[in-house]
């Protein structure tokens, strides 16, 4: 109670007025970074390797103890994570929470696959978290975000589909269902390249043996397993088009799922990389501030800007964090996440998920 009262005082309008314009958190962090009234920070309490097969990128589950300001998360949600990765730079990326749904202030875990990021100096955040971070490292978090979540009342039969690292939100859902002692039926289809790179292999093995009402199919494409198709779905889940389904994975898998469920409202999806197919090449891409113009090759404006040697601000590169918001003075752009196009002049757009259609000019 005493803590709660403290929190209420710190979040009061009076304290906000006293700490204006910087905010009370700017003062609290000088005392201890784990003291916060609004922002969320966390310390790493555990780093557990998931995959360390030779030649394969490392995967690790990083457990975090957040500040009391963390409002908890629902299974399937993601969180923006910022880490000081060296040379005075902080890198920020979005990761899915892989742990069971949690209450305010409770620990959470993210599962991270190391991959090189040419734009990060000196380390990409995923490499830093899997290879260099230690217990005690401070990280900066957002609140949990995203609508790719299970409803409070889970239907009698559901299908979960994941591909590659898309398994993370689905694992959080599965674990949460087990904790909620869900009695219905769950069909879980997971695609991965091969068995030796499988994240959560032990846990999947246990599910396979114990059952828990979970009908598990792990399909390794390198071993000749079939890819997602209406025929395969019908075979594994008869009448699948009427079964509420959650799918998370690479663009190819999501597009296949969307085709299989076309015309139904059973499917909920989450991309972890925007699909690359949406762009239309042609016309000129102009970067007005620097006076550069390139031939529009259909890639996102962020990619084209970087290819032209510019270094626009960016963060998640998937349309979530809004770090890359830039003014588009003219031209039509397509949002690769939604497929919507817009051609309003002087529009604020997220350049990481916008592709130009024909001539386009942005303030970069």
């Amino acid at each position: 109670m005493a803590l709660d009262l403290g929190g209420r005082i710190l979040r009061s309008r009076t304290v906000a007025a006293l700490a204006s314009p910087h905010g009370i958190d700017r003062y609290l962090t000088q005392i201890n970074p784990m003291l916060a009234a609004h922002e969320v920070r966390a310390r790493i309490t555990d780093i557990r390797p998931e995959v360390s097969a030779p030649g394969a990128p490392r995967v690790a589950t990083v457990t975090l103890q957040p500040t009391s300001t963390w409002r908890g998360h629902r299974a399937g949600q993601h969180v923006t994570v910022g880490v000081d990765t060296g040379e005075g730079r902080r890198t920020t990326r979005v990761f899915t929470v892989s742990s069971t749904e949690g209450k305010p202030g409770e620990p959470l875990a993210i599962t991270v696959r190391a991959h090189d990021d040419e734009h990060a100096t000196p380390y990409s955040i995923s490499k830093y978290l899997t290879e260099r971070a230690t217990v005690g490292t401070l990280v900066h978090l957002s609140q949990a975000e995203g609508d790719f979540v299970l409803p409070d009342r889970v239907p009698e039969h559901i299908v979960l589909i994941s591909g590659g690292s898309g398994i993370t939100p689905v694992m959080s859902m599965l674990r949460s269902l087990q904790r909620r002692t869900h009695r219905g039926k769950v069909t879980f289809l997971h695609w991965a390249p091969s068995a030796d790179r499988q994240i959560f292999a032990d846990e999947l093995e246990e599910i396979r043996h114990q059952g828990h009402g979970i009908d598990l199919h792990v399909l390794h494409t390198a071993d000749g397993a079939p890819y997602l198709s209406p025929a395969l779905l019908e075979k594994l889940v008869p009448g699948y088009r009427d079964v509420p389904t959650w799918a998370c994975g690479p663009a190819s898998l999501i597009e296949a799922a969307q085709a299989a469920y076309e015309g139904t409202d059973s499917l909920q999806v989450e991309y972890f990389k925007p699909p690359r197919t949406a762009g239309v090449a042609g016309g000129e891409m102009e970067f007005a501030t620097t006076g550069r113009t390139v031939a529009n090759d259909g890639a996102t404006i962020l990619d084209q800007a970087e290819a032209a040697g510019l270094t626009p601000e960016s963060g998640c590169r998937m349309g979530i964090c809004f770090s890359c918001v830039t003014n588009k003075s003219s031209g039509r752009v397509r949002n690769v996440l939604t497929g919507e196009t817009s051609e309003l002049p002087d529009e604020q757009i997220r350049i990481c998920v916008s592709t130009p259609e024909g001539d386009c000019s942005v303030d970069l």
Partner: protein
């Protein structure tokens, strides 16, 4: 106009300008490649000091009698650091590369009645792009003073010294109101409706400062409320006077050149550097003095590289000076007293109509470079 020739400088040929620009570009590239831990630790340390001075200042008001002067001193230092070495520089984007939202130019707000977004437009864009171009740089005289002989004289300017004094006392208010372009309003070049949005932004910040410094903190100090009120007002005043003096030494000391719009049309990068160099002046002093001035004591380097972390300016200065010597360009610097004297003389001189006739004021070509400007 205080032309380039009158300041004892020569005009560079297009080839020289290009080579001059390339040398400065090389400095920028080297510094950008070297940005890292040292720069981030530095700014974090300054932020920590600023917060500590602020908390100490607020707390010392509770100490009767002997606490007041140290309290005002701490709070003044805190406000100066907040506005200058932190605020001004962060809002220039000098630390955007760090990826820390607290030090990001798009998010930072300072302890000043001028809203950061309005200041960034008038300062980063207008002033830094059109530095010392008459009719374009609204920082020449801030729309109320006559600081250049090419600004047409009017009896109104007899009040130049008085206006300058008032601007100094109310500097943060002057900076905020400056963005409203009142002189363009009077001249009919700007509509009142264009200011409505900006006016709301300013009022929001005015209310916040008033609530914090003149209501809440005084109330919290109970019986000491009047003294706290007075102390907070004094700290804001000290910051105003200090900032005014430092900033006026940046572009108005003797020997600083101004430019016409014609000579800056289709300007090359080399000429932009040239204009920034000749349109700015430095102040010599100790390390502490440089920090307290937000490194605007290195106004020349700041204007050449406004987005490089200010702590780098002293090391860059050596090289810039050497380049200037080679190109025969003046590097305007001197102690605070000398630069302020120059500013004061200008304020008084331009209060009066020009004494010289136009004919004799025309610059003699090939006049030898003034010695001693690069002290």
């Amino acid at each position: 106009m205080t032309t380039v020739e009158k300041t004892g400088n020569r005009r560079l040929t297009p080839e020289e300008l290009e080579a001059f620009g390339a040398e400065l570009d090389a400095i920028r590239q080297r510094i950008v490649a070297d940005l890292g831990e040292k720069d981030s630790s530095y700014i974090y340390d300054i932020v920590k000091k600023q917060r500590s001075f602020e908390i100490a200042g607020r707390a010392l008001f509770y100490l009767p009698v002997i606490g007041w002067v140290p309290a005002v001193a701490c709070l003044s230092i805190s406000k100066i650091l907040d506005n200058m070495e932190i605020g001004h520089n962060v809002m220039h984007g000098q630390y955007d590369w760090m990826g820390d939202p607290d030090l990001n130019s798009r998010m930072f707000e300072w302890d000043n009645v001028c809203p950061s977004d309005q200041w960034k437009y008038s300062h980063n864009y207008i002033h830094h792009t059109f530095t010392n171009i008459l009719g374009k740089d609204r920082d020449i005289g801030y729309g109320i003073l006559r600081m250049d002989e090419d600004q047409k004289w009017h009896p109104y300017f007899l009040g130049n010294p008085l206006y300058a004094f008032l601007l100094m006392i109310f500097f943060e208010w002057g900076v905020a109101l400056h963005d409203l372009e009142v002189e363009n309003l009077v001249a009919g070049k700007r509509k009142l409706s264009e200011n409505a949005e900006m006016h709301r932004g300013i009022m929001k910040k005015v209310k916040r400062q008033a609530l914090k410094d003149y209501v809440l903190f005084p109330l919290l100090s109970g019986p000491m409320a009047p003294l706290t009120f007075l102390g907070n007002a004094t700290a804001n005043l000290v910051r105003n006077i200090w900032a005014f003096n430092i900033i006026f030494c940046g572009h108005f000391p003797a020997g600083v050149a101004s430019f016409s719009q014609e000579e800056c049309e289709d300007e090359t990068q080399g000429h932009w550097y040239y204009r920034q160099l000749l349109g700015s002046a430095n102040i010599t002093g100790s390390r502490t003095f440089h920090i307290m001035s937000g490194n605007l004591s290195h106004q020349i380097e700041h204007h050449l590289f406004p987005d490089l972390p200010a702590r780098r300016y002293p090391e860059i200065a050596e090289e810039v000076r050497e380049i200037c010597e080679r190109y025969g360009l003046a590097y305007n610097t001197g102690p605070l007293r000398k630069q302020l004297t120059g500013v004061f003389k200008k304020i008084c001189k331009y209060a009066l109509p020009d004494r010289k006739s136009r004919a004799t004021a025309a610059p003699a070509q090939g006049e030898p470079a003034l010695e001693g400007v690069a002290a």
